[in-house]
Symmetry: C2
Subunit: 219 residues, 2 copies
């Protein structure tokens, strides 16, 4: 176990960067795959080491083990897939040909949910909902990177009606499901994001994400 | 450069886990520190490799270079710190003794902002705002982990009125500032989250974050 003052070497730094660069949103899983309990525990520990505003830790996880429950979830996702197609209008047919989730073949299915509002004020007086959501997402990103480090694929499925999924999974009042996390061994990782590989949308370069600061010079 | 099919070794996996475990939200920076342009470029590249719903990439970054602009930002944060203290009521004095941000001494100050709504439907028809926020947060978490791998500290400051900060930084209509990211060398990394070390709040164990799935057995 490295201590808090550990200095990462250049080689270790490059491993971290490779992990970040090679993580993919996965929809194709190796059928019949398995995730060890020890792996799952390590990954959830990593998720739980995420930062959170005011230390609120608003992430909640549920492991779906019952095949019949998974099938009910799949039906909710399929209904939302059809509604999404309808909303996409001219691209509906193209959309429906994409594989958008791996619920049928992933080894493990986890739900990540936003906890009910807990009243934390520190760091979120002015942006309460936004900061809770951002904190929960940081936990998922940790889980995602952990999965890639375990050579496992993870896909975040957000195609569902949150109220319907919350009802099906009997979430507490005020909780909001954010993602169905499909996890498991894969035959291969995508070379590029799948939506790019399939020609759905091109990623834009970093340069387009950078804004100039306003100049304070007197005009 | 590792290829997409790279299998992480156990040692590499443990490096990733150490990076995740040793990342801290930093408010104490080494005065007079600097961040190399090459480091900053690597970190922003890592942020930009984050997943995003429908490949919308809603993260935007601004590097604040002008000391006078940083001071104006500090004034906004200080005003929100006072409002937070007032909202905390019985714990106001205790709160005001905490160091809640490192805007005065960090080497670099970045803004992360949510881009204006771009109409992406894929994966967010039913949760448009939530999924944009989660995507932006994943980019920040990548940046945070990258900073730790560079042995630099990063602190996410969310203590500001988003409308006031958006106006000061002349953000485009519909953009929302999510964080002021204080970045730079540190004398040391906290052993535990600073809010825990200072007795503000205790983190809860992972076990409390896990929910049982509802049973489908017939009753």
């Amino acid at each position: 176990m490295r201590c808090a003052q550990h200095q990462f070497s250049a080689a270790e730094r490059d491993t971290v960067y490779a992990n970040i660069a090679l993580r993919r949103d996965i929809r194709h899983f190796a059928p019949g795959g398995q995730v060890d309990d020890a792996q799952l525990q390590r990954m959830l520990n990593a998720a739980h080491q995420a930062p959170s505003v005011g230390l609120m830790q608003p992430w909640r996880f549920m492991r779906i083990r019952q095949p019949a429950l998974r099938r009910q979830i799949q039906a909710l996702v399929e209904a939302e897939r059809q509604r999404t197609a309808a909303a996409l209008d001219a691209r509906a047919a193209e959309f429906l040909r994409l594989k958008v989730e791996g619920l049928g073949d992933c080894a493990e299915l986890l739900l990540v949910s936003l906890a009910p509002e807990d009243g934390t004020v520190f760091g979120r007086r002015s942006m309460p909902r936004e900061m809770a959501l951002c904190s929960a997402a940081c936990a998922v990103q940790n889980l995602w990177l952990a999965a890639r480090a375990e050579n496992l694929g993870l896909g975040w499925v957000s195609m569902f009606e949150p109220e319907a999924l919350a009802a099906l999974l009997q979430l507490p009042q005020g909780a909001m499901p954010l993602g169905l996390l499909c996890l498991g061994p894969v035959a291969r990782f995508y070379e590029r994001p799948m939506l790019e590989q399939q020609g759905w949308r091109d990623a834009r370069p970093l340069a387009e994400m950078l804004m100039d600061e306003p100049s304070l010079e007197l005009s």
